[in-house]
Symmetry: C2
Subunit: 494 residues, 2 copies
């Protein structure tokens, strides 16, 4: 058959896709259900799965089929599938097996040591392990850079955000940084810390479920559970989100649920006809984060929907609506320079990303060595965030990413926020009655827009192509800055 190489690839990647789905269920189980004593056996199961996946993916025949398939006159979606396959293949096959083994082992050891180092606030404890891991990551980056024809840092980023080049990030972050600094300066003026919203866990669970209902969450194909760190797992037809409840305050659990629901709806809305194929998946983490942040930051915190939220919370807690509305408005508008990324508000959050992007690029290039990281962090934190940590636990020890070998991941958080703002601006232009629906707790119009312009397209187009097609222009900082200005500096907007 003329198209045989393509169909060989399609059947091979269907198998790989199923293994990835299985890993998704096992990871979810590990975080939500598994008794502690199961961890060693689970580690072995995941290792076997990873080895099988690597064997299926990096076999030389796959490379040959890819070369042959590229020459075929395939339909556009099949060509996009081949492109997505090649992306997976390159990231698996261009790194020698021995190096992959060394990376896996070193990352696992470093992550383990990092937990202790963070607990003890003792960077020296993990520095040697991180140094060895970084040396391996630099080797990995060199291999991938050669195969992809890009710089080592771009080669690492490519795994999380296929095709993203450094010049684009440099331009976007360069435009963002000075304006953001000024906005933060203005927004922080004399803001008092607003109070928490205590709420029994059972009531929180009920509120989260009611909100998921409003967001169109499909309980026939999904679950909500609890885990130490909220995440979205499972597979598109069985998508599982988690949150974490704390009695002292409702809002962290509520907005984590909404954030994960954004990821979940993306997975759920991926094109059914391409299930299990690379083209049927999201084109990287920037697009994925644009959906979760679109849900959490853009839509859920909009004055229209937060009015609905205030009524719902007030009813469930038996408080006067006006009291809840006022607390919620103050909480959602509050801006403060803080040290911990995951606790940062929407406006200061990207500053944490600018800091990390600068440092990880220097670590990968060799301009910065591990021994100098704590000092470099304090310096960069003062420049970007405007305050510097007094200890490493609130500094370079706070995030897991580098210690588990993930370099080049951080930019996707800020890029995702930019994409979210630009997409939502386009959705608002196309849906003039959106705020009226949101005020009634009805997300169906917004969800339908996301389905049509993002979810249902899978990886048929790259992230940048998706954004251009959905919004009529390439990704820029304008919508994002306009959104932040309206949300945090035009106080009357709520």
């Amino acid at each position: 058959m003329h198209d045989a190489p393509y169909y060989r690839l399609q059947s091979r990647f269907a198998e790989i896709g199923r293994l990835d789905e299985i890993r998704g269920i096992l990871d979810w189980d590990q975080a939500t259900q598994m008794p502690r004593g199961g961890s060693v056996a689970r580690g072995e199961q995941l290792k076997t799965l990873a080895q099988m996946r690597h064997r299926l993916l990096s076999e030389p025949a796959v490379g040959d089929w890819l070369d042959e398939a590229t020459e075929l006159a395939l339909e556009p979606w099949r060509l996009a599938n081949v492109r997505a396959m090649r992306h997976m293949y390159l990231h698996a096959a261009t790194v020698p097996s021995a190096l992959i083994g060394a990376l896996t082992y070193s990352a696992s050891l470093t992550e383990h040591t990092w937990r202790e180092a963070r607990e003890e606030n003792d960077f020296a404890l993990v520095a040697p392990a991180l140094g060895e891991l970084l040396a391996l990551v630099r080797e990995e980056a060199a291999h991938k850079a050669e195969a992809l024809g890009v710089t080592p840092y771009e080669a690492l980023m490519d795994r999380y955000d296929p095709g993203r080049g450094w010049p684009e990030i440099e331009r976007l972050f360069g435009q963002l940084s000075p304006k953001l600094s000024l906005m933060v300066e203005r927004a922080c003026e004399g803001a008092a810390v607003p109070p928490p919203l205590p709420c029994p866990v059972e009531v929180q669970r009920g509120i989260c479920e009611a909100v998921l209902q409003a967001l169109g969450f499909d309980w026939e194909h999904g679950r909500l559970d609890e885990s130490a760190h909220p995440f979205t797992g499972g597979v598109p037809d069985d998508v599982r989100i988690t949150t974490r409840y704390a009695e002292e305050d409702l809002l962290p659990a509520l907005f984590a649920t909404i954030h994960e629901a954004g990821h979940a709806q993306y997975e759920r809305g991926l094109p059914e006809t391409w299930r299990g194929q690379p083209v049927g998946q999201a084109p990287g983490l920037t697009m994925h984060e644009s959906q979760s942040l679109g849900f959490e930051m853009q839509i859920a915190r909009s004055p229209a929907f937060s009015g609905f939220l205030a009524r719902l919370i007030a009813e469930r807690l038996g408080h006067p609506t006006e009291t809840v509305r006022s607390v919620l408005a103050r909480r959602l508008a509050h801006v403060q320079r803080t040290l911990i990324r995951v606790e940062a508000d929407e406006l200061t959050y990207p500053l944490h990303i600018l800091l990390r992007t600068e440092l990880e690029r220097a670590l990968v290039s060799g301009d910065l060595e591990v021994a100098d990281l704590p000092e470099a962090w304090r310096d960069a934190s003062a420049r970007h965030v405007g305050i510097a940590p007094e200890n490493d636990r609130s500094g370079c020890l706070q995030d897991i990413h580098w210690y588990s070998g993930d370099f080049g991941y951080f930019p996707t958080y800020a890029l995702g926020a930019m994409v979210a703002a630009q997409l939502v601006a386009a959705a608002r232009a196309a849906l003039p009655n959106l705020d009226r629906s949101l005020a009634q707790g009805d997300w169906s119009d917004y969800l339908a827009w996301c389905r049509a312009h993002v979810h249902a397209l899978g990886s048929r187009y790259s992230a940048d192509e998706l954004v251009s097609q959905a919004t009529g222009r390439p990704l820029g900082v304008e919508s994002y800055l306009a959104h932040l200005e309206a949300r945090y500096l035009a106080r009357s907007a709520g």
Copy 2:
């Protein structure tokens, strides 16, 4: 290396073992957690896993290594491992792939149709599908019989109970049948149906957890959940049991939990040094059932432990202990001829197995055809159980086994009960203070005995060898009949 073929096998079967563990977790998830809409994707995941397992297991090289390894001067446990590997290999590799595919498809279709036929009480609905499935099963049996050098029915049984021959079953069942009939006749005389023990679900859950504690269940390495049909899943280091609660009566959920705990403790006690290898697993379903029935029927219903149970239940329900003790004693001693196997009491239960064994043997040999099954069932039920069903839903449509392609499975239930009785008699002889401990809710002596004589030996010995070594004589019906006599006919024993 001289022993190379053996080590190649060991590493290959370690991989297969991990795939089986993963399937164990996915099956558990499907029965307890998965939203309904996830079933199609889950089916595909399980299919991929099964294909990979089959590829790894039935590769011709595995057959060569097995032949070479058999010639090596290996340690006894390694020889036992090779024997257990060969068992797995033969059952995978002697059946042509096309036939395996046809069997899987036909079994899935027949099982699906069976659910409807049972619901509608309409055997004709599923008869054509069952006929096709049976034809395929006969083919499968012929292939395996040739490879194993046994009869077709023995070849099917061998999958569930390795090495068990028909002459042994014929002898044991032949000795059992007439004596059992007489005992049932005597025990059923004028027995009034005792009342249920209603109990709120939350209290039932608490009682089940407390009883699991008494049974030495290890919560660091296990869970208790709910599912439509109780089962034991997961893996030895993460063993997961389920039960099913109904407010109207505590006892079904309680004894299902104890039954599954017997399976769970077997898995948990399998030899750690052989984890993931075939020799590290139980030598078949008869031995497995001996542990669950040993827990449920022999120990938990003993007068000593049921006294403890009565106190625990009375305390949790706030009832007088004597009331609960009396209800429990009457419930546990009640014998009645009924139509549904899974609801039968201990004494009449084996009659249901005699009936099924006779019929499935005739179905496999061709002496009985599907069209004649309902009539043959009514006839055999009258002869074995002493009553005949008026409809097929309470007759040949009640059990899933044949409709999912499982022929040769039923005997293990009755054999397991015999093994349980013989093992517990030996344990009692070795542990003169057992009843004193059980009366205090302390199972540790009994569990230690099971660990030493059964669990920790994995498949180092065959089921029959295990029984002979643990009890000093080959498997017979004497202990079983003595137990039934004491439990159901010497009424004063409780």
